[in-house]
Structures are given as C-alpha cells and as structure tokens.
Amino acid sequence: MIATTHLVSPEEVMAFVDGELSSAEAATVSAHIAECAECASMAAQFRETSESVARWTVPAVPESLDASVAQLIAKAGNENPTSKPIRSILFGGRHWTVAQLGTIAAVLLLFTAGLTMHYSSPTARLSDRAQSVDRNGLFVEPRNSAGDSVSRPQAAPLPSPAMQSMSGIEADRLVQLPPGVVAGNLSESRSRAQQAATKGSGLPNAFANQGASQPTPMIAHSVSLTVQVRDLGASRAALDALLSRHRGYAAQLTVNTAEGLPRSLQGSLRVPDGELAAAIAEMRALGRVEMETQSGEEVTQQHADLVARLENARETEQRLRELLAQRTGKIDEVLQVEEEIDRVRGEIEQMEAEQKILEHRVDFATVELRLAEQYREQLGAPSASVSVQIGNAFVAGLRHGENTLVGVLLFVEEAGPTALIWLAILAVPGILLWRRYRRMLNQR
C-alpha cells in the first residue's frame, strides 16, 4: 500500500496535512503531492479520516459543573493562593506514596538494627574504663586492654587490729585458728566445751552441746542497700573509714568510673554481726537510700545438726584408730580399716569447713552495697583525645558495617529458602490478580 520509493515518506505527508512541517519542507512535499497521485490520495485520506473523526462530538458541559467550580474559585480567592501547608512541601502532595512510606520504614528499620547492633557489640564499650580495687584500697588498672569491667573477688584476710579487738570483745568465743585454715575465714567454735570435748577425751557430748547452744539463736543476716551519693570519691573514703571502724572488710568491691556514665561502686561487704545496725545506719547516711532489703536466715538447727554429725564422725574415727592400735589382723583387714579412717577423716574436714563457713556467716553479716553517683557531665578535658575518639569511631563504624553485611548475608541464607517457598505459593494468585488488573485497566 505504501511505496517506499517516493521522495517523501508517508509520515511527512501526514505532517504536511497537519501543518507540522517547516515552510521549506512543506514546499517539497506540496510539490511532490502535485506530481504523485498516490501521495495525493494519501493526503486526502488523512484529511478524510480527520473529518470523519471530528463527527464524534460530546454534549455541552452540565450546568452543575459551572456552579461547583464557581464556588471553588470564590473559595480559592478568599484564601491566599501562595500559602502552602508544610506537609505538602515536605511530602509533595496530599497522599504519601508507597515509595515515601517505604523509605521511612527502611530508615526506621536500619535505625533499630543499628541500635541493636550497637548495644550487643563489645566494641561499643571501648571507651568504658572500669577500675578494680585491690585489697589495700588502691585503684588498679584492669588487666585486659579492652577495658572490660573487671571485678576481682578477694580472699581478704582480716587486718590484724580488727582481729585483736574482736577477740577482746568476744573473749568467750576466742579460739586459736588451727594451722592450715584458709585465711579470711574467721573460724571459731560455738563453745569451749565442745572444743574441749573434741580435742580431749573424745566423749560424746553432742546433746550437751545442743543444749548449751540452744538459748542463743544463730542468725545469718544479709542486707542489700542502694544509695545515691553526691560525690563518689568522698563516699568511698567514708566507706573505708566506716569499715575499719566497725572491723568489717570488703569481700569484693568494684568501682566503675566509665566515661559518660554515672560513677558507681558495688561491693559485697562483711560486717561483724554486732556492729551491723550501727554500720548500716552510717551507710544510709552516705546519701539518699534508694533501696534497702534486710533478711535473716535462722541457721541454729543447721548448725546443731552439723555439730552433732561432726561429733559422731570424730567418735568413729577415734574408735577406728583404737581398733587399729589394739587389734592385729590380716594385711587386707588392716588396709580396709585404714581406708575407712581416711574416708571418715575426709568427712570430718568437710564438715569442719562447712561449720566454719556457717559460723562466719553468722558472725559476719553480708552487706551488698551499691553506691551510685548522680551523673554530672564533665567539663574537663576528656581522657581520650579527639583523634583517638575519631579513630575509634571509624574502627567501630567499619566493624558495624561488616557486622551488618554479615547479618544481611546470614539473614538471606536463613530466611531465603522460606521466602522462596512463600513467593512460589503467593505468586499464583498474585499473577492472576495482576492480569485481572491489567485487563481492567485497559477496559474503557
């Protein structure tokens, strides 16, 4: 139908009919149409199509439109047309698009993920400085350079003056520490009679012991105290003075002076039971008490049982020794008796240790003390220089990036197969709906 050998293309003929050509081009096409009948008929055909199409008219605008738009114009005239709400400037219109909502969601997700990662990663605590306290009350630097909080439990032996004054006061309970007893565990017997019985004749007098120890109930006190203080340094000095005054000691003490955090002190203190009330009162005076719990555990019966069992065991040992000394028998039998003695000896030692611990708990109340300082922003020069901080932040940033990448990879590996399965399941209805949508869109 359309020949390609013509000087002008059919599209140019169409453009000529539409008056879309420049005057020079129009002249060329016009000249060609004058000669070429085929192109002339094509031009006529274009005109004919346009004419027949133009017969498709539409009715006049309904009156209702005039009225409603007139109203709108009046309303717009009252308002300042240049004023625009901020929301529409920020988000470009009345409705938020899916892309905008998606972006916001993604940012929130990243933010949350970043926060989670920050708090779970050990590098975030790089700047923290924790100081541990040795038993002389001197600050010592933590061993590992990473600066993780180090708390060093102490098997602190009692300072000797405290020991002396203690024995002065409770003279009736004084006992010689047997050699080999673990330092720091003040060991003493509940009664001299019992001691004499075990070391001496070996007569069983457990009942007598029980009867003797019955009137004084044994109670292991423990106190938990949280105090907010103004100045941790001063409070610490006061605490040290307090402890030495009351002949107590710190079983464990951790002082945290991390930068950017309120300084705090946490310690497990031991105070002689008799001094407990006075010591607690003084500790309360250090600042504002935030929390206090007291508890007492009745261990009288426990202790009496232990003493009785210990008694019996010693008696058994004694009898076995006598047996070994008096009787003669086969080597096998002798060895058996020796083994039995060993076993009983082990039990005795274990029970003795238990007794000591129990008595220590009664004699020395436990005070779990926590001192927290009100946080004040430090104006002084930060301990880490700016360049170090920048370097640390850079390294932390790199590590976080790496963690995020690994996390994303792990997530893809972990959730990928499941997601694929769901995708496959949902694809079928999705495709069907999409096709239906396209069909509806093309329907006029």
Partner: protein, 213 residues
C-alpha cells in the same frame, strides 16, 4: 497564528458556539490569565475556566464511558490547577500544562477503578446511550478507539480532539517527537482501515451489530 487556530477549531469541534467565549476580541493569552490568577485575580481563573471547560469535558467524556465521572474528573482537574497555580511557570504553555494534569488525573482514576474492579469485583460502568449526538457515531467511535493500541490511541486523541501540535503531544506524554509522529501515523492508518467499511455508508441507519463484528 498557529496558536490561535487549534483553539478555535477545538471549540467548533465540540459544538460550542464561538460566541460563548466573549473575550475573543480582546483576548488575553492563557498564560497571562494564569499568572494574573496566581497574583490574586480570581476572575482570571473564571475566564480560563470558561475557555477550557468544554474542551476538558470533551477530553474526559471521550475517554470515559460514564458521563458523571467525566464531569467529576473535569472538576478535579480544575481544582488541581487552582491548587498548583502558585507553581505555574509561564515557560510551559497553559494548554500542555492543563492536559498533562488531566492525563495524570485520568490515569489515577483508571488505576483506582481497575484496582476496585480487580479486588472488589466491580465491573466498570457500562456505556450509556448518548443523547447529544448520533448514538451510532458515538458507539462506533468508542469501539474503533478501543481497537487501537493503548500507546497509539492517546496520541491520536490528543491530536484529533484536543488539537495539540506534535511538540505539545510530545511534552504532555513525555515522548520524543519522532515517536509521536510514528505513533500518530500508525494510529491513523489503523483508524482508516477501521473506518473504511462504514465510511462509504456513513448513514444513521447503519446497524450497530455490523460495526461490532
């Protein structure tokens, strides 16, 4: 010269008497009116509305089956222009600005309607017999337009009824000028084929069933 001619043709094509536009003798350009409105003269917009309400209504009326929706979208387009008047740049012709907005509103409407039809099972509104012009021509033209390819149809409609120039169509549809020309050519050739049969017997008693087949 070329600016005025298509507008006049448009009003004639839509069957509006030329006298309704009383400003033809001391006619301000559309762009001047738009700037005047942005500066606060609300009767400038009334003039624009009177000038374009019929072409715009025709624009929607030809593209939608439901006359009520055509009216609604016409109003919506004018509201959009009212709102965007402060951002109007006189570098763009008002006509292309108007039809670009109208097209955006039309597409949004179609998407919404298709979405509703997909998920709520609503069928698009059926065609109502038109009383204004020959119902046969109306139905026949709609059928013919439906036969065209989507991309070609819009170019043809903008050229034949909105009387936009090739470059204006290119701007409104964001297409290269050459694409507009080739699409228009393709659409016209197809339309010529479609109109070919009844063109000879273009009478009022042409049976509709034959047209459909």
């Amino acid at each position: 010269m070329k600016d005025l001619k298509p507008a006049d043709k448009a009003t004639q094509a839509d069957g509006t008497p030329a006298g309704i536009d009383g400003r033809s003798e001391q006619r301000e350009s559309d762009e001047q009116l738009m700037l005047a409105f942005a500066a606060g003269q609300s009767d400038a917009f009334t003039a624009l509305f009177n000038r374009y309400k019929q072409p715009l209504f025709g624009f929607f009326r030809r593209r939608l089956a439901d006359p009520a929706q055509a009216e609604e979208l016409t109003q919506e387009t004018f509201i959009a222009i009212l709102r965007s008047a402060p951002q109007y740049q006189p570098s763009a012709l008002f006509r292309t600005f108007l039809y670009a907005i109208a097209l955006r509103i039309l597409r949004a409407h179609r998407r919404k309607a298709a979405f509703r039809a997909t998920f709520l099972g609503e069928r698009p509104v059926g065609h109502e017999p038109a009383s204004h012009c020959d119902p046969v021509i109306d139905l026949f033209m709609r059928e013919a337009m439906a036969q065209l390819q989507n991309s070609d149809r819009e170019v043809l409609l903008l050229r034949e009824f909105e009387q936009l120039s090739y470059s204006e169509i290119a701007e409104v549809l964001s297409l290269p000028l050459n694409t507009v020309r080739s699409r228009l050519f393709r659409a016209r050739s197809a339309l010529h084929e479609l109109l070919g049969a009844p063109a000879a017997t273009r009478t009022h008693n042409a049976p509709v069933t034959e047209v459909r087949a």
